[in-house]
Symmetry: C2
Subunit: 336 residues, 2 copies
């Protein structure tokens, strides 16, 4: 289905005008998509509900609580008190939902930006948050989770999830590259190549079949939520991708895994092409030229990722790479 | 595919801050969808390119020209000069496209709001525009086209397209209503019925199969572009829907047809459930309760449509209806 709306309704004190109009989380459609992502929501449920020994009589902070689903999981798991915070107007619905489900005394909801708000509890045993964006870091709430950790988490407290790992591989993707990129060479007989240049530099969030993957995957970045610092999210990661077959390569593919290592059975899930569908899909970076690789050869490169200097919600991503058959190429991408 | 971005880049003088951040047309993704809608773009091409007798040596105004595709069709059809106007930053790309395709001398592009701009030509023989939104009128540019007609069209000049017709029918849609509406009754065991109330009142833009349609269609509104006034777009239309079979009814369905009656072969297309896919799909209005109808019985009702008083890009739509088995019900919907 398509959602005809991205605009916000209602009002919210303390938001800047950009925040206000950008409050896409105020619309229920995005929460519907996230709730119906059963890999996502089911993993959080398993990590929380199946581990009451971790939650019993504990205080829990839910960062970016949305409709309150994780807060209610924590309350069900035996938390003594849960505080959920969200700056989007969706929290007005969360208030109704919490009340309708009998959690008014266990869950306290706070509307606002964590950075600017005083919470009713000063120290929490556990932080829970679903902060992940496309490519893990695009429009993610990780900065806010780290702020919450540093200000509110008791020493030795738990963070759900506690680990994230980013991966990269290379894919054969001729057919879809024709449709998405080369389409602009000839639009009803007209030359639209200026749009082609723009399209190429914008990573595409899409599902890719496992059979398209033509190399081994390589870890780009491991994030330990207990220790990572905001500065670490600006990073440069070398990679080596060994071809698992002789093929053409049209793009790099990135995805991430999430784990709750503090749980009894170490709940985890992957957003990779080998795993079940999630709303994060994967992220495709088309290369300007097609690469040729033979089985066993390596694509050697480096991915650099940093928030855009002008708008730190945008991501500047650079991929530099070479193969045994081609000189080093460097492509600048932008997620915005 | 999903588009990770709805935000605008670049800058544009004369836009309000809301317009600026709402400039979703600045992103190429929306133009890609419209260009790849071959029913839409192919119909305009047929109406323009196949009718050079109408365009030869004529002046043409393209309202909301986007990437300039319709302007280039008009130039190809022999227009002496084309002026394309658009307030979105996408026009910066249109300038490059026009030049790359050798139309720099034939097509003049103007960035701005038609209402606030002086055009380089004062009288045009033909206005072309693809102004239609979801449900025809949601976020449509029809107001701007009417302003262009009244200010710039020569007496007896042509408008492409020149007619639009809105339709309504009733559909059996139990399975999808479960997924979209009743889902909120039980979300991982929790009661989300406050969201259900919101979801029900928001028309859903989606494709519906012809076999779901359980009644004859009924015309809601005919729009003659040559004569319609802005006030006419706030309307109240009675309807009678005769059941073509005995079935349950879960929603009303609306769509529209577009025609270029001034062309030699009267080019037209439909966005209805019987026709080929278009990016406008259809619009579904779920009813709070399921209706029972028997073959030959009629659902009698009235649809009222008006721009929202606070934000005139939003649409307030009311549907009041009754069947031989049920009392009159009135539901207020909002497209925003």
């Amino acid at each position: 289905m398509d959602d005809p709306s991205t605009s916000a309704t209602g009002s919210s004190e303390g938001m800047t005008s950009r925040d206000y109009y950008a409050d896409s989380y105020a619309h229920f459609g995005i929460h519907e998509e996230m709730l119906k992502d059963t890999v996502r929501t089911g993993s959080y449920r398993a990590a929380i509900i199946n581990n009451p020994h971790l939650f019993k009589d504990k205080t829990v902070l839910d960062v970016g609580c949305g409709t309150g689903i994780l807060s209610m999981f924590a309350a069900r798991a035996g938390a003594s008190h849960v505080v959920g915070i969200d700056m989007s107007n969706i929290i007005d619905q969360a208030v109704k939902i919490i009340e309708a489900n009998g959690f008014k005394d266990t869950i306290t909801l706070v509307k606002g930006k964590l950075e600017d708000t005083e919470l009713p509890i000063q120290q929490f045993d556990i932080i829970i948050s679903e902060w992940m964006g496309y490519f893990l870091l695009y429009e993610s709430m990780l900065d806010t989770v780290l702020e919450a950790r540093d200000r509110y988490l008791k020493p030795g407290g738990l963070i759900f999830p506690d680990h994230a790992t980013m991966y990269i591989a290379a894919i054969e993707d001729q057919e879809y590259k024709e449709e998405k990129i080369n389409f602009w060479d000839n639009v009803y007989g007209f030359d639209y190549s200026c749009i082609k240049d723009i399209a190429l530099r914008e990573p595409l969030v899409d599902t890719v079949e496992m059979k398209a993957v033509a190399t081994d995957p390589c870890v780009l970045k491991r994030i330990d939520l207990a220790t990572v610092k905001k500065e670490d999210l600006k990073f440069s990661a070398p990679f080596e991708l060994r071809a698992t077959r002789t093929d053409f390569v049209h793009a790099f593919l990135a995805w991430f895994d999430i784990s709750f290592d503090c749980t009894h059975k170490k709940v985890s899930f992957s957003t990779g092409p080998h795993a079940r569908y999630t709303h994060w899909k994967q992220t495709v970076f088309y290369t300007p030229e097609t690469l040729r690789i033979s089985e066993g050869e390596k694509i050697v490169g480096k991915l650099t990722c940093s928030p855009n200097a002008r708008n730190n919600r945008d991501l500047d991503i650079t991929i530099a790479y070479s193969t045994p058959n081609s000189a080093r190429i460097r492509v600048e991408y932008k997620m915005y």
